[in-house]
Structures are given as C-alpha cells and as structure tokens.
C-alpha cells in the first residue's frame, strides 16, 4: 500500500467496499491469513457501526511504522450522535440495534491496539492497529 485509503461510508454497499480495501491492504503488507481475516472482520464491524448509527462516516486505512514495526491502522470516523457510555458500548452483548452486540468489543479483541474517542453530539473516532509479526 503506497498511499492511504479513505473509504466513505454512505450506503450499505460501502461496508463491502471497506472490507475489500482492507483485505487488499492486509494482503499487500503480507499479513497471515488469520490476521487478514481479523483485519477484514474488524473493518466490517466498524463500517457497519457507522452505517447503523452514525452516517456519514469514513474508514481510513494507513500503513504505519513504529520502532521498526509495520502496522495497518484502521480509523473509523463519523459525525454521528456520539457514544454516551463508552464503557457500556464495549461490553459484550450490548446492542441498541438488535444485533449480536459483538461488534465494537470484538474489534478490540481482534486488533492489537484499540482506542475510542467520542463526543456526544459531535461524533466518534475509533482507531485500531494490527502489527505485522516478524
């Protein structure tokens, strides 16, 4: 991946587009098959979160480097309603949409680094990084 990718999430199909971009990026960086699945799934969960709760938003994919490590960073940003209770949103099984409630807490487990910033009424930014194992 030479340049960063920015995928706008506007309609349901954009979830698939974000997923495909993530799969391509993970392959190019030579992530293992399992890590490719983790990355693709994490992107799908984050993109769906935007689609369900916080349209419009973006999924940004970047190759990053830190202390000789290469990683793929996923940033999900939206200008949605924000998350009132982040702790609750990170609890397994918590959902307001009738889903499995596995999405956001699941992403945290699938990825190596995870952070979430949210301001009610302004939006949410979630970043997640997978590091390439040497």
């Amino acid at each position: 991946m030479t340049s960063n990718m920015n995928i706008p999430i506007i309609c349901e199909w954009d979830i698939v587009a974000a997923r495909q971009a993530g799969r391509d990026a993970a392959r190019k960086l030579s992530f293992s098959i399992v890590d490719q699945a983790r990355i693709t799934t994490a992107i799908s969960e984050l993109a769906r979160n935007i689609y369900l709760y916080a349209l419009p938003g973006n999924i940004i994919l970047e190759q990053i480097e830190e202390q000789n490590k290469i990683g793929l960073k996923i940033t999900a940003v939206d200008k949605g309603p924000g998350i009132k209770d982040i702790k609750l949103a990170l609890e397994d099984g918590y959902t307001t949409s009738g889903g499995l409630g596995a999405g956001v807490p699941g992403v945290k487990r699938l990825m190596d680094d995870f952070s979430i910033d949210s301001v009610v009424g302004e939006g949410t930014k979630i970043t997640a990084v997978k590091w390439l194992k040497k």
């Binding site: 698939v16 799969r23 399992v34 693709t40 769906r48 499995l100 807490p105």
Partner: protein, 118 residues
Amino acid sequence: MRIPILKLNNLLLVSIQIELDDQSALQLQEDLLEKIHQTTAGGVVIDLTSLDMIDSFIAKVLGDIVSMSGLMGSQVVLTGIQPAVAITLIELGINLNEANTAIDLEKGIQILNQSGVQ
C-alpha cells in the same frame, strides 16, 4: 445478488461463492425458508468454504437461518468454515452453538443422512 439453492433428493444445498453483503445474506434467508416450504426438504447444507471472513452480522443471519429452518422442521448443517474464520468468530465472541457443523460438504450430507434425511 441471489445465491442459488440446489435440491438433491430431500436435501437443499447452498454454496456461498460471493462476497456476502448484508442484503444478499438476508435474501438468502428468505429464499431458503421459502424453498424449504416449497420442497418440504428435511435438511439443508450451507457450505461456507469460500468465505474468508464472517462478521457479526453474517453470523447472526446464519444463526437465524439455523433457528428458523429448525422451527419449520428442517435441519441445517454449516460446512467448510475456514480456520481463520473459526478463529475470528470465537475472538469476536460468536460461537454459533446452536448450529450443526461439519468439516466439508460430504460430511455435512452424511450427518443429515444419519439423522434420517436422505
């Protein structure tokens, strides 16, 4: 996109060969239940060999298909889940406990045959 559903004696076979978007997953749910109703098939094998990821939404739809078909009296077996997909699903916190699974299509059909669905 419509996923084809094949009939083999008293079984229905589904092989998902496309990048599964939400609409296609929901369409499959509807089409499959309708087909079970039409054919009175006693069992269904859904082969997932080609899927390189299953997220929480697709997992929910698959779980629902299993439960809904069960309500109608048709037994579903999910087959061919890839190692990376199994790892990712469990890490996500999804175990699809209700679903019968088998390593491949052949074993899936065997399971149904053994439970009397020919």
